[in-house]
Symmetry: C2
Subunit: 215 residues, 2 copies
Amino acid sequence: MSETTPSQSQITETTSRHRGFQGKVIFDISLSLDGFITGPNDSPEQPLGEGGERLHEWMFLPSGGPIRPEVDEERFKTIGAMVMGRRMFDVGEESWGENPPFHLPVFILSHAAKETLIKEGGTSYTFVTSGIENVLAQAKAAAGDQNVQVMGGANLAQQFLTAGLLDEIQLHLVPVLLGEGKRLFEHLGSEPLELEIISVIQPKEVIHLRFRIVK
Amino acid sequence: MSETTPSQSQITETTSRHRGFQGKVIFDISLSLDGFITGPNDSPEQPLGEGGERLHEWMFLPSGGPIRPEVDEERFKTIGAMVMGRRMFDVGEESWGENPPFHLPVFILSHAAKETLIKEGGTSYTFVTSGIENVLAQAKAAAGDQNVQVMGGANLAQQFLTAGLLDEIQLHLVPVLLGEGKRLFEHLGSEPLELEIISVIQPKEVIHLRFRIVK
């Protein structure tokens, strides 16, 4: 976190969006080359669906061990809070366990109210029932001068995209055709949305693509 | 085209596939980040659909002039024949005109027979009604020791993929979300297909992705 005071011009620039929030809202997800973020039949027993764990292999050490240190490091350096959809939470919670891999406040867009859950290692789950603008406002307040990461599922991403609430999209493109599952990009309407390529990074087994949304 | 005679080992290696064919079968297409190869409502008046011309902008010089020389050069260096679907031909023929941009024999998978059309500049259109194996065999025979490029549309690409007839996929990923149009990857069945990244090249406004299909 930077300790410097933002200049007046920076404040003017950002208060039109959310008072005090200096970061970006970044949607971040792994997807197959054919556009799926899970395989078919995702459930608490199989949160990424059949064959879908293939999409997260790049995050782990070749030994099958814990998350690659550089992945966690990058996340902690820049992300201050996260947003996720309720279905993603319901499907994933059990597998994430008592010490979830987020280590950050997570705000969950939900139809049903539920008390905040405090987990080990800095993760908390807060449920917001008053819509995407509000779940984002709470995440921004928690993120301070860091970024907000929007995690999915597909439905939440589509809502954020069509509402124009994202600054950047970061895709981890995995070289597999899953054939079936949850499709990331659909129901976006017929108005094309222009993006600008920020960076393309290709370690051996995944392609990291980062785009700025041109508003 | 090389004038050298293939060695005996090369012949043995390739005759299991197609006698004499030394090249690869490469599917090559431009698509939007959300997976569309045309915008909605493609027609002879608008072969790439509404907004779909955005997908081919990278091929042209910034002046709006002819195809970038390096794009044509790469194609001519490695491609000996092309395969396309009948609907793509019907929609595109008029816009390609009397001197089409292919300058190669093009084999069109068709339900209805039609006589071969010879155009200016080395392009010919040959219609094959006996299925994908046969349209590919004719293209391979015409390609000699060069590659066969499979062009689309989506339906043809899906048939080639599910029949296991492709060696490589080359995607020109354009940073736009079209929202609607013809989707490239669907109807592929539920058996995941593993790919291997060959190369990722990013000029300013497009990302060229090349994959080998792991059989």
